[in-house]
Amino acid sequence: MCEETTEPIPLPPPAGQHPAPAPSASVWVTGQQDAASQLAHRGYLPATAADHGRIPPAIAAHAITAYTRAGALVLDPDCGAGTVLVEALHTGRHAVGITPDRRRKMLARANVTAAQQAGAWPHATVLDGRPGHLSPVHLAGLAGRVDLVLTTLRHPHPTRPRAARHPQHPAPEPGSLGRLHQALRRARPLLQPGSHVIITLRPHRHHGLLRDLPGRVTATATDLGLIPVQRCVALLARLSQDRIITRATLAQRRCAARHQHNLGHPIGLLAHHDVLIFTVPEDWAAGDAQPADPAGDPGHEHQLPPGDPATWCSRAA
């Protein structure tokens, strides 16, 4: 004799209250459109395509909508052409970008202006991150206000002059990690407890072998007090049922062919970016949340009057 177990019938949610959305998957379907279509869809300037280290717009939009609410503040401390800023604007978030590249700063500002002219209502600003140009006063109004830091590890472009790739010159990777470390240090006082830091990475090889960049980036972030909470995958290729359709360029295929020749093993064509997600601990020290203020009296200077973030965004600009 078997017992019948009756499961309670799920009741509809009360009026005006929607059920909680199901958690999204650890693999982000962000490659259904190619890079050119993504840029064209959002109205980016054509020069944006030259920023090879940018976060693809679909990945930026997915991360922003998953980890922030409308009206939140998103920061990219190494924003490049400003894809993170534009996607934040289009999804109803305010955005601040910092870049040490003067030309990229102009491009990012132009992209932000184009997005606002297209109807995006939030505010965004792009700050000059060159040494000597970005003083802590510029960031004073943002202290403890940032809800999400979304950035990427920028590699040197492979078509840069050969002199930069010579063994006698400084290795590029420590420069990349050092640049990321500097960007995170700059953003650290601006984060509020419970917020998130998301770093996207593309696989990188040296002498044909993969480098453990995720491990190094994780070590860099944990040194700054961040807690790793999840590791996700953002697709660059189109997913069609049970098939992956890559969009590898001719240069990437040649690179894979060279590595296969050296190693004797097939090399996978790039179809994803790694996404490392960190959180700011709830007991984030108050002293850490305040940037150094050379003018003194930091407690007074860093008090932000309540109101529209547009006030301090425009002031910081």
Binding site: P214, Q252, H265
Partner: protein, 290 residues
């Protein structure tokens, strides 16, 4: 006067688009590989893809089951609870599929490091087959041959591919194997693993595995994402490009509190591929992207 053959510039032929795998492998929805009682469907598909992609017919393949999370307990087919919580226990059940592909398959189970009796071999265990001593220079596995009429041959000193799995919580056994001594010079070590984000902090074994295996003179040459379940393409895509900004903002206001406790549902595992052959160093010392 006979015409001289055209001696034009020799052009290097680059592979066709389908000649290379991608770094993402969908491993679900293969009706021809339904899985077994212990082995999940996606894992069987992944193992089959590894073998077909990185070995040739006639090669020697070792399926190495990791020690179970419970320490002394080994794979017990009758223990359904272990099977449900540990998908890597059924690794041996991929033998039949690999034999059908023309590979000679050996199986073994790694001993947990807490049971090291020193430098002597562990006695074979019944049920799951012989166990590999971590200090043994070569495997002593059971043998399966493609030709069923032939008698089992003794295991070779080296194999062309080792397929194993590593749980994030149990990695100590990996450091005790002499992996380079188990592989042929062009052999491949494939480690299937995944990160664990159930706790307050992420437990990602990738870096520890890479560091440990580099110490054993095997180099990390590829990272493949194994999709275990189909993805909702329409839902995830809408967040990126499909929704109007106003509608998306309203939905976020209603559904998400502050701060946002986001935990993604894990639908993938990581395949880490290592080679025993050190690549020839390039003279320019350059760095390449793939």
């Amino acid at each position: 006067m006979t015409p001289t053959p055209h001696r034009g510039r020799r052009r290097r032929r680059w592979p066709t688009p389908g000649a290379y795998p991608a770094t993402v492998w969908p491993c679900y929805g293969n009706d021809l590989r339904e899985g077994t009682g212990l082995l999940a469907e996606w894992l069987l598909t992944a193992i089959t893809k590894i073998v077909t992609g990185y070995t040739q017919p006639g090669h020697q393949v070792l399926l190495l089951t990791p020690p179970s999370t419970t320490g002394h307990r080994q794979a017990d087919p009758a223990s359904t609870h272990l099977v449900r919580t540990d998908p890597f226990l059924g690794l041996h059940e991929a033998v039949l599929s690999l034999v059908q592909l023309g590979r000679t398959v050996h199986t073994g189970t790694a001993a947990p490091p807490t049971e090291h009796p020193g430098l002597t071999s562990s006695p074979p265990q019944s049920g799951s087959g012989p166990r590999l001593s971590p200090f043994s220079p070569r495997p002593h596995p059971s043998v399966s041959c493609p030709d069923r009429s032939a008698r089992p041959t003794p295991p070779p000193d080296r194999v062309d591919a080792i397929i194993t799995a590593a749980r994030p919580a149990v990695l100590d056994w990996v450091r005790d194997f002499a992996w380079a001594d188990l592989l042929t010079p062009r052999g491949t070590l494939a480690v299937i693993t995944h990160s664990d984000s159930e706790g307050p902090e992420l437990n990602d074994p990738t870096s520890r595995l890479v560091t440990t295996l580099r110490a054993h003179q095997v180099g990390w040459f590829d990272h493949i994402i194994l999709l275990e379940a189909p993805l909702d393409v329409t839902r995830d895509q809408s967040a990126a490009t499909g929704c109007s900004p106003l509608r998306e903002v309203r939905a976020c206001d209603e559904h998400s509190g502050y701060p946002v406790p986001v935990r993604h549902r894990r639908v993938h595992s990581d395949l880490l591929l290592f080679t025993a052959q050190a690549p020839a160093l390039r003279t320019d010392g350059g760095m390449d992207d793939v």
